[in-house]
C-alpha cells in the first residue's frame, strides 16, 4: 500500500507530527513524504518529495493534488493540525476522508480507521475506499519510528496561489498558554511552600510541559494568574495533567479536560483521584526530587 504523508514544516522546522505520520505510514505500507517548504528533511525515514513552495499555505493542496496524480497513493495522511486540516479539508471535497483518527489499518484494499469523536465520548470505526485521506491526531504514533534516513527528491511544481503568507507572529515569552499545552504539571496547596515550585518547573521542563496551579497557589502569588486551572482560570485539554498536591475541588476539576490525569496526593480519598487515570499516594515534596533524578537518568541514559 502506498501512503503519501503530508509533512509539515513551520518556520523552517519539520514538525513532530510529520514523523508520527511517517510512523503510521510505515505500518500501512510504503511511505512517501511530501514537504512543501524549505527545511532540513534528512531525518525523515524513507522517500521524501520536496517541493519548495515557500511557507506552508492552504493553497499547497494543489501541489498535493499534482503529487497524488503522479504517485497515485492509496492513502494520504495528514496531521490533525491547523495546517494539516487546511489542506486535507480542501482535498477531501472529492475524496473519502476520516478525521480525528488515531488508528489506521488497511483491510482488503480499503482503509479501516478509528476516530475519536463527540468530544471523545464515542469511538467511530470507519471504512474508507482508496484512495482516501486520513487526518491523524497527534500522539497516536511514536514519532521516533518515523525518523531515519531520507532519500530526497526535489521537484518543481507550479500551481495557482490564492493566498499569501505574510509572516509569523511569535508569542511573547511570558505568555505560556496552559490551555494549549499538551503536558501540564500542576501544583496545589500540597506543594507546601513557594520554593518547591522550582521542582515542579524542573519536572515540567523534563517532560516538555508547562507548570500550572490551582487557586490557592495562584492566590499566594507563587504563579501568575495566567497559570490558573479551574473555573476561574483556564481549562487544560492536552495529553497529560499531572496534579501535584491538588485535592480536586469542584471548581478546579471543571478546568481539567486533559486526556490523562495523573494525581499525586497524600490523601487516598482526595476527589482529584476520581478523575485520574493514575493515582499516586505520596507526599509530593518527598516524591519530586526522587522522580526528577530518575527521569534525568533516563533522559541522559
Amino acid at each position: 500500500m502506498k501512503v503519501l504523508v503530508f509533512g509539515e514544516v513551520i518556520d523552517g522546522e519539520v514538525q513532530n507530527i510529520t514523523y508520527e505520520l511517517v510512523a503510521c505510514a510505515k505500518k500501512l505500507g510504503e511511505p512517501v513524504t511530501l514537504i512543501t517548504s524549505d527545511a532540513d528533511v534528512s531525518n525523515i525515514d524513507g522517500r521524501v518529495i520536496k517541493v519548495n513552495a515557500g511557507e506552508i499555505s492552504p493553497w499547497h493542496y494543489r501541489i498535493v493534488e499534482k503529487v497524488i496524480e503522479k504517485e497515485k497513493p492509496d492513502v494520504i495522511l495528514f496531521g490533525n493540525t491547523s495546517c494539516g486540516v487546511d489542506i486535507a479539508s480542501q482535498l477531501s471535497a472529492n475524496m473519502p476522508v476520516a478525521t480525528s483518527a488515531y488508528e489506521v489499518e488497511s483491510e482488503d484494499g480499503s482503509i479501516k480507521v478509528k476516530s475519536l469523536s463527540y468530544g471523545g465520548k464515542v469511538i467511530v470505526e470507519l471504512k474508507l475506499e482508496t484512495p482516501a485521506i486520513v487526518v491523524l491526531n497527534s500522539g497516536s504514533y511514536d514519532a521516533e519510528e518515523g525518523k531515519g534516513k531520507a532519500s530526497v527528491e526535489e521537484l518543481e511544481i507550479e500551481v495557482e496561489k490564492d493566498s499569501e503568507f505574510i509572516g509569523y507572529i511569535k508569542p511573547a515569552e511570558e505568555d505560556v498558554d496552559i490551555s494549549k499545552a499538551e503536558i501540564v504539571v500542576s501544583v496545589g496547596r500540597g506543594i507546601g511552600d513557594e520554593a518547591n515550585i522550582e521542582m515542579a518547573e524542573e519536572l515540567a521542563e523534563l517532560l516538555g510541559g508547562v507548570v500550572a496551579g490551582s487557586r490557592p497557589v495562584i492566590d499566594q502569588g507563587w504563579l501568575p494568574k495566567t497559570r490558573q486551572v479551574g473555573r476561574s482560570g483556564k481549562t487544560v485539554t492536552g495529553k497529560l495533567y499531572l496534579a501535584l498536591g491538588i485535592s480536586g475541588a469542584t471548581e478546579h476539576v471543571e478546568g481539567v479536560k486533559a486526556k490523562n490525569v495523573l494525581a499525586v496526593n497524600t490523601d487516598k480519598t482526595a476527589p482529584i483521584f476520581r478523575i485520574s487515570r493514575y493515582g499516586v499516594v505520596a507526599d509530593v515534596n518527598e516524591l519530586l526530587p526522587v522522580l526528577i533524578d530518575k527521569i534525568k537518568e533516563i533522559k541522559e541514559g
Binding site: 463527540y118 464515542v122 530518575k294
Partner: protein, 251 residues
C-alpha cells in the same frame, strides 16, 4: 461587503449520548461552539466595517427546532438576515453537506463565508475547506482574527504553541474560525426571546447528494479508564510513575 456565517448543530454533550453500534442518538442538540465563534467574528467584522451579516443555520428533520435559539442569538447580536437550511436527511459525511451548501451559496455572492473550524461530531471531514473547494474560492482555517480592507482579507492563523501566522486572501473566500477575537457576546434572556420573536427566518430545504467511499462500521463507547493506584515507598512510587508516563507516551 456581505458575510455569511454557517451555524451547525451538534449533540449537547452535557447530556448523555445513546451509543448503539450503528447509531449515535443525542438527547438534544445545541449550536456548534466553533460555529458560534464564526458568527461572532462575522458580527465583529460588521462592527469594524459595516458589513452585512447573514447567518445560515443548518439542521436536519431530526433537530429542526433546535436551530432557532442559535439563530435568535445571532439576531440578538445583530445579524441582518437569517436562513434556516433544512437538510433532507441527517448525514455524517461533510462532503455531502459541502456540496449541497456550495450549490446553495453559489449565486449568493458573499464576499466572505465563515465557518467554525470543526464540529465536535465531525469524523468524516471538515466543512470549511470542502466548501471552498466546491465553490472554487480561497480557503484558510484555524483563524483567530479577521481583518478586511480593500477587498482583501488578512487573517491571523493559529499554528499551535502560541505561534500565529498572518495570511492575505482575495475575496470571495472561506475562512474557518477557531475562536473569535473576543469572547462570545452575552445575550440576556429577555433580549434573546425578543429577538426570537421578531426574527424573520427564511427557510430553505436542501437535498444532500450522495457521497460514496466512506462508511461507518460501528460506533462504540470508549472503555472507562480505571484508576490505577500507585502506593508504596518513594522509590517504588517514582518507578511506577515513570512507567505510567511511558504508557501514556509522555516519556
Amino acid at each position: 461587503m456581505r458575510i455569511c456565517a454557517v451555524l451547525r448543530l451538534v449533540p449537547d454533550l452535557v447530556e448523555e449520548l445513546e451509543v448503539e453500534e450503528n447509531e449515535v442518538i443525542p438527547f438534544r442538540y445545541m449550536p456548534n461552539e466553533r460555529d458560534e465563534h464564526a458568527v461572532e467574528e462575522a458580527l465583529i467584522l460588521k462592527e469594524k466595517t459595516g458589513a452585512e451579516v447573514e447567518v445560515l443555520g443548518i439542521a436536519d428533520p431530526d433537530n429542526e427546532a433546535d436551530i432557532d435559539e442559535g439563530l435568535g442569538m445571532a439576531a440578538a447580536k445583530g445579524a441582518d438576515k437569517l436562513y434556516k437550511v433544512i437538510l433532507d436527511r441527517p448525514s455524517y459525511k461533510r462532503a455531502e453537506l459541502a456540496k449541497a451548501l456550495a450549490e446553495f451559496l453559489s449565486d449568493k455572492n458573499y464576499d466572505l463565508i465563515l465557518t467554525g473550524i470543526q464540529a465536535i461530531d465531525s469524523f468524516a471531514g471538515n466543512l470549511g475547506g470542502m466548501l471552498a473547494k466546491n465553490l472554487g474560492i480561497p480557503y484558510i482555517g484555524g483563524v483567530v482574527e479577521v481583518n478586511i480592507s480593500d477587498g482583501e482579507v488578512v487573517v491571523k492563523k493559529e499554528l499551535g504553541g502560541g505561534l500565529l501566522a498572518e495570511y492575505r486572501l482575495s475575496t470571495p473566500a472561506v475562512v474557518s474560525i477557531v475562536s473569535a477575537e473576543r469572547p462570545l457576546k452575552f445575550v440576556p434572556f429577555t433580549k434573546l426571546r425578543q429577538a426570537m420573536k421578531k426574527a424573520e427566518i427564511e427557510e430553505v430545504e436542501l437535498e444532500l447528494p450522495e457521497f460514496e467511499g466512506i462508511e461507518v462500521v460501528r460506533y462504540e463507547v470508549p472503555p472507562e479508564p480505571e484508576i490505577t493506584l500507585i502506593e508504596g515507598d518513594v522509590e517504588e512510587v517514582a518507578d511506577k510513575l515513570i512507567e505510567a508516563l511511558k504508557e501514556i507516551s509522555v516519556l
